[in-house]
Symmetry: C2
Subunit: 333 residues, 2 copies
Amino acid sequence: MRRATIGDVAAQAGVSTATVSRVVNGGAVAEPTATRVWAAIARLGYSPNALTRGVFAGRANTIGVVIRDLRSPFYLDLIRGIDEVADAQGSLVLFANTFRQVHRELAHVHTMDEQRVRGLIVTTGESADGRTRRMADTGVPVVVVARTVPDPPAGMHSVSLDNVEAGRLMGVHLAGCGRSFVGVVTSGNRPSQVERTAGLRLALAEADLSLPDEAVVVADSEEEVGDAVGALLARARARDEPLDAVVCTTGRLTVAVHSALTAHGLTVPDDIAFLTMDEFPWSAALGITVVAQPSHEMGRRAAELVVERPAESVQVVFEPTLVARRSCGEGHR
Amino acid sequence: MRRATIGDVAAQAGVSTATVSRVVNGGAVAEPTATRVWAAIARLGYSPNALTRGVFAGRANTIGVVIRDLRSPFYLDLIRGIDEVADAQGSLVLFANTFRQVHRELAHVHTMDEQRVRGLIVTTGESADGRTRRMADTGVPVVVVARTVPDPPAGMHSVSLDNVEAGRLMGVHLAGCGRSFVGVVTSGNRPSQVERTAGLRLALAEADLSLPDEAVVVADSEEEVGDAVGALLARARARDEPLDAVVCTTGRLTVAVHSALTAHGLTVPDDIAFLTMDEFPWSAALGITVVAQPSHEMGRRAAELVVERPAESVQVVFEPTLVARRSCGEGHR
DNA sequence: TGCTCCGATGTAACTAGTTACATCGATGGG
DNA sequence: CCCATCGATGTAACTAGTTACATCGGAGCA
């Protein structure tokens, strides 16, 4: 069945396409004419072509979102926040996942540009910054999430977390719980990860505790976590300072790190304190203390920046909060 | 900065727009001309307008996905599967979330139609079926996920789970673990939920166990789960047949039901067996037995149906698998 | 040398809408 | 009674591309 065009509707109603367009978009049309046109629209099942509208308007009414890793609970809430704002605007979300592969970042940003999205939200690394900067220059607001951008052009914004503070909250809490020997599982060398570790080190130092380099291990994927945690525990034992706390700086690895501790026969919090990033559905039930990002709110803010198109570059930094539960033992419930 | 059009590129390169189009899309163009055109494209930062292409082609190269509830782990994996196939096709995913609100289903399907998506995947209820059927009639493949469609038109397909079998697997497992008094927490009256409960009842009957109506409670949201579980336990005690197993028929409520049991002072599996739907990140770590759907594979299959556009309606039914862990006690680890 | 044929390129019509401007008939004031 | 004005509607140009067809020039062959 061929799809009805505005021309078909016009012919049915015995008017010109201009009149149909006016009826649909609320121009000045006489009552009986409008009725006839609506009847024709209903009869033919006409639905206006949003692509054509977009061509004429110079922009689609979609918001592009390029996500690094859908699995992370952070991104899930972020998307919900974006979707809420987009929905309220009558916009749709054009969505792409890079599966943590750098070459896909650029490809997806490119495609978003071709799709003439009205704004772009990316959670990716720097690799695509050249292209996103150019998009910002052509008037498409770009929001970088979970990272700040050096020397951003006017149309390029960022929504990020105070990662140093996140680390500090962790350190202060652990010290307050009487823990002395802290190990860290972190993921790669993205700025967010480095800053969290730095903040943690800072807060520990203020409590006269040290965080030596050998107490920090890197795991890029869940598969690497088992070995990383094993190495961490072994090193500490070798120093004769067995760990009494393990921190995970990324929500993506929470399960894996927790499982690794359990697999080593350690009980949380009696044998070891456990502290991780990001709220997740089971955190309350399991009593795991986390440093939470307002991920939903961050998604909303990112989408709002797309909608509001501020004239100057805006850098929004959200503050993390520590949600104290049982996993670090004493002093906090 | 104004965005370069094909006309600007043509002027720069001293050729016609037709030639530029041929260069970009691989028509017959002499070598030196092509070089000149590519240089102009690079200089002007030209990126072809996908909207215009879509207008001419009659279709965008996006796949529309209308999701009921992003929070459910099932949908997350489903989306990843869809995204994988779309990505391999050079398509993008146009994405909308209905937040379980019926009026949004129709609105979003409508918008997807306007966007001239090349195919539509919906996980929604029947409310929008009228519109999706018409879309299928105009040649847009529609795939309904997690539900079958009565008397579907040629272009309308479904990807669903054998829900009766899912219930049966649960019943057989519980009987095998020596459990006798089973309670069920289910969510609303969607066919999937009803069928799972029916399958469970069937399997229990085969083991000479009954599942009376008062052992089935409904909770539509996480907030209602506490009261529902409380009522379930109280009723069983009143019958002098305290429950030794609780089944949750939807992955969305797993945390809430598990928490409610714990809140009532019950230990899993010693006091009570717990069995739920859908794998989730913590299931292995917590030792919770689940009936898993191949959600990722279901997403892939749904997207493949969009891409392959089979001439006749295709109904794909996936089989669930029971992943036995510790939460039902004896006989299985 | 003249004709044919072919590859390269331009012209213009087309997609499905929107909108500036022109036109038309009716109304109302002078 | 005539002309100005106004609301309703049509005409046609416009968006940014694609593509069928026309044209042009040179190579190859008789």
